[in-house]
C-alpha cells in the first residue's frame, strides 16, 4: 500500500491559482466522495487552506493514482488540466510521508513555525474521518503527523519567538513588565502599526487602552473600538504616568516626549518601569529618554532586529525539526510496509508452525514407549490441523485484494498474533481543534 500526496502551495502557485483550486470546507463532502470513487484510490483526505491545497491518498498504483488525482483537481474546479499541472507537485512513499510531516510541523509554511497549519490539517482530517473517506492507513498516518508536529513544537523552539513587529513588541513588553494583565497601553496618534500592536497587547491580556490624538474625535473613535479611554492631546502628560506601555506614531515634526518628561513620569509612577515604542518617522520620542532609569525606549528598527534574529533562530530550529522527522519517518514506514499481504501470510504461517513444532517436540520428548511410526503420524496430523486453520484467513486475505478492507485485516492479524514486535505509539491525539 502506498501513500501519495498531490497538491500545490504558496511555493509553487500564486494566490490566483491557489484560490481557483481551493475546496470550500463547507462543501467538502462532495469532493471527498468523488475522490475515493476514483479508480485505484482507496482512502483520501483533502487539505485546503489559503496557502496550500493538498490531497493525501492511498493507492496500489502510484503513477495512475497521482495522474488521476491531478486530473480530478482540474476537472472538479472546471479548469484546464494544463493550467494547473505545472504548479502541482506529487510525492509517494517516503517522500510523501516526509512532506506531510513537514507540513504539519509548519516547516513548509510561509512563516516557518506558524501554528495555524496544524489546526487546519486536523480540521481537514476531521471531515475526512466524518465522511469516512479516510481509513486505517490515513488515520494512522495523520495521527502520526500530529504527534510528530507536537514533538517538533515541544522539542524545538521553532514556534517560540515572535516573527512580526507587533508581536515582538508584546514579547519585549513581557520581558520588562512581566505579566501584562494589570498593564495599561497608551496610543499616541493613530497608525496601522500602532493599532495592530495595541490589538496584540489587548489579546495578550493588557488591562486597558488610552488613546490620544491631535483630533480628539479620532481618538474617541479609536478608543471606542478598543473599549478604551480617549484623552485630549493637550493633557497627555497628565495621563502618561498611568500608562505602562506607550505606543507613539504621530506625524509631529518634533519630539513630543523628551527626557525631562520621562523623568517626571517615572517619578509619578514611583519608579515603576515604563516601556516606550516609537513607531513614528521622524521620531516622537527623544532617544535620550532611553537614558532615563526605568524608562525603556525601543524603535521600529529595534523590533525589526528582533524579528530578523528570531527568523534566523527559527531556521536553525528547523534543522533540529528535520532530524526529528527523519526519525519518525523510519518508524512509520516500517509499520506501513507490514501491511503487505504476502509477507503477512508468511509471517502468520511461520508463527503457527513455530507453535506447532514447539508443542510437538514437547510431547515427543516425554513419550518413552513410542510406537515406530507415531512420530511421523503426529507430525502430519499437526500439519493438517495447521493448514486447515490457516486456509480460511489466507484465502480471505488473498481474495479481498484491493480496497481498504485488506489493510484492516492485515493490521488486525499483525496485532492479534503479535506477528512483529513493532514499536507502536498509539497516542491518539484528540481532534478538538
Amino acid at each position: 500500500m502506498n501513500i501519495i500526496v498531490v497538491g500545490l502551495s504558496h511555493k509553487t502557485a500564486t494566490v490566483e491559482i491557489r484560490e481557483k483550486v481551493a475546496f470550500s470546507p463547507n462543501q467538502i463532502e462532495k469532493p471527498l466522495a468523488e475522490l475515493i470513487r476514483l479508480e485505484g484510490i482507496i482512502e483520501g483526505v483533502i487539505v485546503s487552506t489559503c496557502n496550500r491545497v493538498e490531497i493525501y491518498a492511498t493507492t496500489r498504483d502510484i503513477a495512475g493514482g497521482i495522474a488521476r488525482i491531478k486530473r480530478f483537481m482540474a476537472e472538479y474546479h472546471h479548469l484546464a488540466f494544463e493550467a494547473i499541472e505545472p504548479h502541482l507537485y506529487s510525492y509517494h512513499a517516503e517522500a510523501a510521508i516526509r512532506h506531510v510531516f513537514r507540513v504539519a510541523s509548519s516547516l513548509d509554511s510561509m512563516v516557518v513555525g506558524e501554528p495555524q497549519i496544524l489546526g487546519q490539517i486536523k480540521t481537514s482530517y476531521g471531515y475526512a474521518a466524518e465522511f469516512k473517506s479516510s481509513g486505517i492507513i490515513l488515520n494512522r498516518f495523520l495521527h502520526k503527523a500530529f504527534s510528530v508536529a507536537k514533538r517538533v513544537r515541544t522539542e524545538t523552539k521553532i514556534a517560540s519567538s515572535a516573527v512580526s513587529v507587533a508581536f515582538a513588541a508584546v514579547e519585549l513588553a513581557k520581558k520588562i513588565l512581566g505579566d501584562l494583565s494589570d498593564k495599561t497601553v497608551m496610543l499616541i496618534g493613530a497608525g496601522e502599526m500602532c493599532e495592530l500592536a495595541a490589538k496584540h497587547f489587548l489579546n495578550s491580556g493588557a488591562k486597558g487602552v488610552m488613546v490620544t490624538n491631535r483630533t480628539f474625535e479620532r481618538a474617541e473613535r479609536l478608543a471606542e473600538e478598543f473599549g478604551g479611554e480617549a484623552v485630549p492631546f493637550e493633557s497627555l502628560f497628565e495621563h502618561l504616568h498611568r500608562a505602562d506601555i506607550v505606543l507613539s506614531s504621530t506625524g509631529a515634526p518634533h519630539c513630543i516626549i523628551g527626557p525631562k518628561d520621562a523623568v517626571e513620569v517615572i517619578k509619578r509612577r514611583r519608579f515603576k518601569p515604563i516601556f516606550f515604542i516609537d513607531i513614528a518617522v521622524p521620531r516622537d520620542i527623544d532617544p535620550k529618554v532611553d537614558d532615563v532609569e526605568n524608562a525603556y525606549l525601543f524603535t521600529v528598527d529595534h523590533l525589526q532586529e528582533i524579528v530578523q534574529a528570531n527568523l534566523a533562530q527559527r531556521s536553525l530550529e528547523a534543522e533540529k525539526a528535520e532530524e526529528i522527522i527523519d526519525q519518525e519517518i523510519g518508524q512509520f514506514h516500517k509499520w506501513l510496509s507490514t501491511l503487505e499481504v504476502t509477507p503477512t501470510i508468511v509471517a502468520l504461517r511461520n508463527r503457527f508452525d513455530e507453535i506447532r513444532r514447539a508443542e510437538l517436540d514437547k510431547t515427543l520428548a516425554g513419550w518413552k514407549d513410542l510406537p515406530p511410526d507415531a512420530a511421523k503420524r503426529l507430525e502430519s496430523l499437526t500439519v493438517a490441523i495447521m493448514n486447515k486453520l490457516l486456509h480460511a484467513p489466507t484465502s480471505v486475505l488473498k481474495q479481498s485484494g484491493q480496497g481498504g478492507r485488506v489493510d484492516l485485516y492485515v493490521d488486525a492479524l499483525r496485532q492479534l498474533f503479535e506477528l512483529e514486535a513493532l514499536q507502536r505509539d498509539d497516542e491518539e491525539l484528540e481532534l478538538e481543534e
Binding site: 523552539k157 513588565l177 512581566g178 519608579f271 515603576k272 532609569e293 526605568n294 529595534h302 528582533i306
Partner: protein, 266 residues
C-alpha cells in the same frame, strides 16, 4: 554515614549546577525538570547529612566555620527551592546553585575542629539566633542573585542586545518582585536574629550589646536592609538602585560571615 551523605550531596549539587548551566545554553524541558530534581535530591541528602551530624554531636552543627558554611549552603538551597516553586524561575538556579555548591566545597576543604562544645553555646537562645540568622542570610543571598540577574537583563535592554541569555532571564518586574519578597522575609528574620542574639549575649557575657566586630557589622547590615526596605516602601526605590544596594548588602553579609569570629565563642 555523615561522610557518605556529604559526598552524595556534593555530587548531586554538582550535577544540578551542571544541569542549571546547561539550561542557560539550551532550552529543553528535560534540563529544566532534571535540574530541579537533582537539586531537590541534593537538598534532601544535605538535610539528612546535617541531621545525622547533629544527632551524632548532639547539637546543631553550626558552631565552627566548616559547619556554618555547610549550613549556609543548606539554607540557600532551601530558600531557592521555596522561591522557585513560587515563581517558576529556573534561570535563578543558574546563579544561585553554583554559590551553594562553592560554599559546600569550601566547607569540605576545612578541617573539622574536634572540640568540646563551648559552654556558652549551650543556650536555646543561641540556636534560635543562629537558625534565624542563616535563614535571613539565605534570603539576602537569593536577593543578591536576583539583583545580578536584574542588572544583566537591564543591561541587555538598554544596549538592545537580545541574545540567548536575554531570552532565558525572567522579566525585570518578576525579578524586582522576587527581590522584594526576599527582603520582606529576610529583614524580619534578621531583626529577630539580632534581638535573640543580644539576649544570648546577655546570658553569656552579662551585657546585651558588647560592640564586638560581629555585632557592629550585623547592625550595619541591619541598617542597609532597613534603608533598602524603607526606600522601597516610601519612595518606591526599585530597579537598578535596589539591585545594587542588595548586592552591596550581600557582600557585607559574606564579609561579616567569613572574616569575623564571634568574640563570645571563639
Amino acid at each position: 554515614m555523615t561522610h557518605m551523605f556529604f559526598f552524595l550531596t556534593v555530587a548531586l549539587y554538582g550535577c544540578a549546577v551542571a544541569a542549571y548551566l546547561a539550561c542557560l545554553i539550551r532550552t529543553s524541558p528535560l534540563f529544566t525538570l532534571w535540574s530541579g530534581r537533582l537539586l531537590a535530591a541534593g537538598f534532601t541528602a544535605h538535610l539528612l547529612s546535617t541531621i545525622h551530624l547533629a544527632s551524632k554531636v548532639k547539637y546543631l552543627p553550626l558552631t565552627n566555620m566548616q559547619e556554618s558554611l555547610s549550613f549556609f549552603s543548606l539554607a540557600i538551597v532551601g530558600g531557592f527551592i521555596f522561591f522557585e516553586r513560587k515563581y517558576k524561575v529556573t534561570s535563578l538556579g543558574s546563579f544561585i546553585a553554583p554559590v551553594a555548591l562553592m560554599m559546600l566545597i569550601a566547607s569540605s576543604s576545612l578541617h573539622p575542629e574536634v572540640r568540646q562544645l563551648h559552654p556558652v553555646l549551650q543556650s536555646n537562645w543561641f540556636w534560635f539566633h543562629a537558625l534565624l540568622a542563616f535563614a535571613s542570610y539565605a534570603c539576602f543571598t537569593i536577593a543578591a542573585g536576583v539583583a545580578v540577574m536584574y542588572l544583566t537583563q537591564r543591561y541587555f535592554l538598554k544596549t538592545k542586545h537580545f541574545g540567548a541569555l536575554f531570552q532565558k532571564l525572567p522579566s525585570l518586574e518578576t525579578m524586582d518582585d522576587i527581590s522584594y519578597r526576599c527582603l520582606t522575609v529576610g529583614f524580619p528574620l534578621l531583626t529577630v536574629a539580632i534581638i535573640s542574639g543580644s539576649i544570648w549575649s546577655e546570658q553569656a557575657t552579662g551585657s546585651y550589646w558588647i560592640w564586638d566586630n560581629k555585632q557592629t557589622w550585623s547592625l550595619i547590615i541591619w541598617f542597609i536592609y532597613a534603608a533598602l526596605l524603607h526606600g522601597r516602601l516610601t519612595i518606591g526605590w526599585r530597579g537598578k538602585r535596589a539591585a545594587i544596594l542588595s548586592i552591596v548588602g550581600f557582600i557585607i553579609v559574606l564579609f561579616t560571615f567569613l572574616s569575623m569570629k564571634h568574640s563570645i565563642t571563639w
